[in-house]
Amino acid sequence: MPDNKTIDNFKDAVADIPNGASIMIGGFGGAGGQPTRLMLALRDLGVNDLTIIGNVAGISATTHYGWREGPDDPKPVDQGMFFASNQASKIICSFPVPGTTNPLSEIEKAWRDGKAEVEIVPQGTLIEQIRAAGAGIPAFYTPTGVGTSVAEGKEIREFQGRTYLLEQALPGDYAFIRAQKADTHGNLQYVGTSRAFGPAMATAAKITIAEVDEIVEPGGIDAERVGTLGAYVDRIVQRKAGDPYP
C-alpha cells in the first residue's frame, strides 16, 4: 500500500512543532526556494525559543534581496519574522547582515537588544555540516576558516602539509523545504537555483516538510529529475494556485 504524504494545509503541517525546536529553512535566501507559507504558518503557531538555521537570513524584508520588484510583487518576508515576533532566540546562518547603507534587519535588531544569539558560519561549512548530519558523518575537516575567528575553540590539524579545522555535523528537528513539484511519495523536483540548501536540509532533519506548487501521482516526476528522495520527506503541502508569494 503506497503511502500518501500529503497534508491538507500549512497549519496542520506545522502543528506539532514544539517550543525550543530547531527549524531549518531551505533555499538560499530571497524568494526563490523560500518556503514562505510554512514560515508564515509557524509564525501563526506562536511557539517560541526556536533556533532557526538558514543561509542568507533576514535581509530581504529591508533590502529586497532576492525578491522581484515588479509592480504587482508582494513585500518581501524572511526569517526576520521569527525575531520580530520574539519566537526565535538563535539563528545559525552565513549572511545575516546587509551593507551599512541598508536599514537594520529584524535579526540585527534582536541581536543588538540582546534578545537573540547569531552564529555566523562560512556558507560552505554550513551546508557541509548539514549534509554531514544527513549522511551519517559526525565531523569533517575543512580548510575554510583556518586563521580566522571561525577557528576559535576548534581543533586544528594538518593533512598533507595543509592546515584544516574540524567541523561537526548540524542536524535539525524540522526542515522546511520549497520545491516546485512533489509526488505523493514525497519525491521532490526543483527548478533552477531554488534548491540551494533544500536537498541537504531534507536529509538532516528529523521531520522534513515540503511546500510545493503541485502534487502529482508517483511517476509524475521523471526518475532522472528527483532532486530530493521521498525517503527524506515526511509531509508535503500544496500551495494555492495564484499565491502572490513566489
Partner: protein, 225 residues
C-alpha cells in the same frame, strides 16, 4: 592630509581592469560590489563561465530587469541571462566546487589586505556583526584571488596595511590587488607594484599604502585593454 597627484579611477574602471585578468573560458566567481561589475565589462571575445554560490554555473551576462524569475538568480540576487551549457545544482555541489579548488579565479571586495595577502572583508569591528557568506570558502580555496577595492578608506587611510585590524576572511590568500590607483601583486617576497593610474608615481601610491611596495621590473601604466 596629502593631495592626490591625479584623479583616482572609478569603481567601473577598477572592475574593467580586474576583468582583463579573467582567463578566457575560465570558471569565475564574482563577489558583490565592485567585483560584480566585471561581468558586463569583459574584453571583446572573452567568454567566462560564471559560478554563483547558490548553485549555477555557466552564465555569462546579467539581465538588468527587476522582475525576473526568482528561481533563476545569482548569489547577489540578480537575474542571469540563460545561455546554452549552463547547469543548476544544490549548495553541497556548489561548495564542493569551491572548496575542492575548481574555481579558476574569484574577484572579491576588500576592507583590508595585508602585505602577506591576508584578506579582511566580512566585518567592520565596530558593528560587531557581519556576513561571511561564501567569501571565506572562495578566498581560501579559489586557484586565484583578486581583490578589487578602493585603495583607501573614505578618510584616506590605507586599506593595504601591515597587519589587518579587522577580522580576517582568510590569511595569506590574495594574489592580486586592483584598486582605483594601482595594480599590486602579492608574492612571498612582498608586494609588487605592477601598474599605477595616470599621474600616479610609485611614490604617490606608496604614500597611501602601509607595507613597502617593490616596483616591478615590468611596471607600467594602468592597463585598460
Amino acid at each position: 592630509m596629502t593631495t592626490d597627484p591625479a584623479p583616482r579611477l572609478s569603481r567601473t574602471d577598477i572592475a574593467r581592469r580586474a576583468a582583463l585578468d579573467l582567463p578566457d573560458g575560465g570558471i569565475v566567481n564574482l563577489g558583490i560590489g565592485i567585483p560584480a561589475l566585471c561581468s558586463n565589462l569583459l574584453p571583446e571575445g572573452v567568454e567566462l563561465r560564471y559560478h554563483a554560490e547558490n548553485g549555477i554555473l555557466g552564465f555569462s551576462e546579467m539581465d538588468t530587469k527587476l522582475d525576473g524569475d526568482p528561481n533563476i538568480m545569482d548569489a547577489g540576487g540578480n537575474f542571469p541571462k540563460l545561455v546554452p551549457g549552463m547547469a543548476f545544482f544544490d549548495s553541497v555541489e556548489s561548495f564542493g566546487l569551491i572548496r575542492g579548488g575548481h574555481i579558476d579565479v574569484t574577484v572579491l571586495g576588500g576592507l583590508q589586505v595585508s602585505g602577506k595577502g591576508d584578506l579582511a572583508n566580512w566585518m567592520i569591528p565596530k558593528r560587531g556583526i557581519g556576513s561571511i557568506g561564501g567569501g571565506m570558502d572562495l578566498a581560501t580555496n579559489a586557484k586565484r584571488v583578486i581583490v578589487a577595492m578602493e585603495h583607501t578608506t573614505r578618510d584616506n587611510k590605507p586599506k593595504i596595511v601591515n597587519q589587518c585590524s579587522f577580522p580576517l576572511t582568510a590569511p595569506n590568500c590574495v594574489d592580486d590587488i586592483i584598486t582605483d590607483i594601482a595594480v599590486i601583486k602579492v608574492k612571498t617576497q612582498g608586494l609588487f607594484l605592477m601598474e599605477a593610474a595616470q599621474g600616479w608615481s610609485p611614490e604617490d601610491v606608496q604614500a597611501i599604502t602601509e607595507p613597502e611596495l617593490n616596483v616591478s621590473d615590468n611596471f607600467k601604466p594602468f592597463q585598460t585593454a
